[in-house]
């Protein structure tokens, strides 16, 4: 919840206050919960509304109004030099293929270090990408629920998720390359 709140406000301290305020809102509003969405989605929806209000009061513009300001917009999912260039007979195909995960022993794949690499990659994502990947892949919400919670369109959700997962995959790919070379 903190991670989601932090998208809308300026600091972790304010985000913690937002989470607390949201929980109080949940308690007060529980009688009005109609069961149209899951309780979890409803709670997160209250969280984002609380956070947005707080963010506006702080004079922060609400993110998600557009994809603008999203660092790495033009970034290719994979380094261009891993593909054959235009003019080559196999233009656009892998020149340097991704590592087959089975090249790395399973215990290294499941090692804490792999998860730490993933966590570190998530930390470096722009806030809106981080929020989407956290809701989807950490908290286990589906696409519709994530859209409802963040108040974003389906397309927007998909783009942000694609970018986030692509960067996290890239961190795993690097880890696999290093492990296979070790």
């Amino acid at each position: 919840m903190l991670r989601v709140a932090m998208m809308f406000v300026s600091s972790r301290a304010v985000a913690e206050e937002v989470v607390q305020e949201a929980w109080l809102g949940v308690l007060k509003g529980l009688d009005r919960f109609e069961g149209r969405s899951s309780l979890k989605t409803w709670i997160f929806r209250i969280l984002t509304n609380t956070a947005k209000t707080r963010g506006e009061r702080e004079g922060r513009s609400v993110p998600f109004s557009s994809l603008g300001g999203d660092a790495g917009d033009d970034e290719a999912p994979v380094d261009a030099d891993r593909f054959f260039g235009d003019g080559h007979r196999w233009a656009g195909h892998w020149a340097s293929s991704p590592r087959n995960p089975r090249d790395v022993p399973e215990e290294r794949l499941l090692a804490d270090e792999a998860r730490q690499r993933i966590a570190a990659a998530i930390e470096t994502l722009p806030e809106n990408q981080r929020a989407v990947i956290t809701l989807r892949d950490v908290d286990g919400f589906d696409a519709d629920e994530a859209c409802e919670i963040l108040g974003i369109s389906e397309v927007n959700q998909r783009v942000l998720l694609h970018r986030a997962r692509t960067k996290v995959r890239s961190a795993l790919g690097q880890y696999l390359d290093e492990e296979a070379a070790a």
Partner: protein, 96 residues
């Protein structure tokens, strides 16, 4: 006749032939494929490409593994004093 001509159930525009999807393009849409968000013809084209391409199959495997590992990342613990405050709020809450 080329294999892709008889393997396609209906004729589409030439650019939807699987051999025309490059690996560079696959990595741009493979997450939508995982999400089940591709139109049927594109999904079929991706699947045909994957059947023929080890590099993209390994890329997809990596993506799936990283999604799974993301689910195992521990979430931020709350600051202890904040957790205490929250528990206090719960305890002292009385129904309106």
């Amino acid at each position: 006749m080329k294999w892709w001509q008889w393997s396609r159930r209906r004729s589409g525009p030439p650019q939807s032939r699987p051999e025309d999807i490059s690996c560079r393009e696959i990595v741009l849409i493979v997450n939508d494929y995982v999400e089940g968000a591709l139109p049927v013809d594109e999904r079929e084209a991706v699947e045909m490409h994957l059947n023929l391409c080890d590099g993209c199959t390994d890329y997809l495997d990596q993506l799936r593994i990283s999604i799974e590992l993301t689910g195992e990342v521990p979430t931020d613990p709350l600051a202890p004093e904040f957790e205490e405050e929250l528990c206090f709020a719960f305890r002292s809450f009385t129904r309106p």
